[in-house]
Each structure stands twice: as C-alpha cells, then as structure tokens.
Amino acid sequence: MNKLIKFLFVFSFFTGIGQNSEQIIARQGQVSFFSYTSVENIKAENNQALSIIDFSNNKIAASMLMNAFIFEKALMKEHFNESYIESDIHPKATFEGEIIDFDASINGIQTKMVQGIFTLHGISKELEIKTDIDSSSGKFVLTGTFETFVKDYDIKVPPLLAGNIAKTISVTFRFEYEPYEK
C-alpha cells in the first residue's frame, strides 16, 4: 500500500512536470469594459492582463490589476479605483475556469464555452462565457464578450451618479498566448 502511494506520488510528480510544457501564457491580455448610458459613455482598457491555459486539463486562469485600467478621463479612473472597485482593498480581478470540450489539436477557429468563477471587488460569481479560440496563426488567440451586472459585485454607485453608469457592463477580452517555458 505504502509503495503504491509512493508510486502515485512520484508518478503525479512526473506528469506534473510534463504538464508544464503544455501550458501557454498571455502576459499582455487586453480586457476592456464599456458602460453606455444616455448621459455618458465610459470605456476602460487594461493591456496587461495575465492568463494561463493548461492543455492537459483545459483549465484557464486569468488575473488583472484593477489600477492598470486606462480611462479617457482622470476623474472616471479616480471614481473607479477609489469609490467603486476600491482597488487598494481589492487590487485584482481574477477568473478561474475550464474550457468545455476544448480540443487544442484543431487548427482554425472553434467556439467554446468557458465555465468558471470570476472574482471582482471581493465577490465571486459563477460565469459562463462564450469564447472564440483561433489557432490558425500558429498562436492561440482567445476573444469574446460578455455582460455582467454592476449590482452583482456589491459596487455602490451614489444616487447622484446612478444615471451615468449603466446597470449592465459589457466586457471584451482578447488574449494572445505563447508557449510558457519554465
């Protein structure tokens, strides 16, 4: 029994190393969000989102720094970081999930669902996001859009500014991956 445990341990260790070569990484993922209202349109962009995909189990993880979002106006950025997201307390947004039925060997575009948990402002929500995976250029490129509710993440918008911020925020992402060598 002991030997079996040892064997399993060693085996998992070796497969663990093997998995590393099947990981791909994106250090310059682009994540942007939009809020459209009749009063004003707010757009912000983050170009340094990090994401890793593990081909062995189709797991995907992404994280980004909230204070690295770029806004058109300084005031929007200030409100976003200080009042809404409170980026000093919750500096990151993260996503951990799995690409359902993903086949890395297919060359070209495939549309898949990504299921996972998205954490923002300290609140985790289960999300299902449709994504296009394009591997025709030799690199894996993940793109997609999803909508999310402001109120789901316990973000308090003062009544005076309620008209300026949409109830649903649309999020767009684009991750371009390269092999992850350790």
Binding site: Q28, N47, Q48, L50, L65, N67, A68, A74, L75
Partner: protein, 184 residues
Amino acid sequence: MLPKVLPLTIGNNIFYNAFVLTLVQYNRLLLAINFILNMNRITKRIIIVLTILILGVIFYWYLSYDSHINILDKKTEVHTNAENLMSSFILNKEQANSDYKEKIVEIKGIVTKVSYLNKKCTVFLEAGKNKEEGYIICDMQTNQLHNVQQIKNGDSVLIKGIFKGFLMDGIMLNCVLLNTYIDE
C-alpha cells in the same frame, strides 16, 4: 426701517451694534431680492440662462479633465533596477506593494523583448536569471515609439513610469525611455 437710535448707540453696546448690522445686511438682501423680482422677464431669463451656462462649462471642464499624464513632468520617487524590484516582491509581497505601488519609479534593466501587440508599445525587462521569475512589463507612452524602435534585445535601458503592481510580472504604465546604454 432702521431704529432711529442707531447713531447714539454705536460704540456703546457691542451686541446691539451686531444686531443693527445684521438688520442692515438683511435690508440689503431684501433690496437685492426686490431688484430681481422687479426686473423684467427677459433680463431675468438671461441671467438664469447665463448662470446655467457658466455652471455647465465649469462642470464639463471638470469632467473632461484629460487622463493623459506626462511622466517627465513628475518627480521620480524611487530609483531601482528590475532585479531588485522583482526580488523584493518575491521576498515580501506586502512590503513591495507599499514601497512601489502607484509610485513614480525610475528603473534600470536589460531588454528581453519589445512588443507591439494591440497597437501598443511595450518593453519587457529581465527581472531575474530564471524565466519563471517573470519580467517587468513597461507600457510605453505613445510618443515613445520612435525611441523604442532604436533599442534591441540585450540593451541596458533606464525607464521612468508609474509602477502599478505585480501579477506574475511587475507592471509599469506611462513609461518613457530616459537613456540607453548600448554595449555596456
């Protein structure tokens, strides 16, 4: 409207003086209100429209304050190099965040990669001998394109920008190239 005793009491009783002065001010306020009420409609409307316009302009100016920052105008708060920055993060994340986060940092490092992804110009600085230790990712200001095109992998550079924090790598925004030391 004012009490006739006014000239006699000035200088005698502070409280009474204050009372009289308040009365005078109140009187003036009433006069001003009367003035506005007695104005003809057109003047009134013009004044209201002008006030709204001025407030609107101030509000718009306040809102449209551009987020563009010129980093060269700002004073450097921390001088460091890429390896030190990364090792301080590996040693103590919280300390590193409080030392560098949102600070204007001048950083020295060796270029490992220059990327033009997403119409942006980004310089990757080597932050350790092992690749797993990550990089310092410097998102350059748009006016830096010409300068960045001059540098090659392996060059030693000095970059100034706002340090934003760590994911797997250190992230800096609004970066400018200060100096290049080629073949050091």
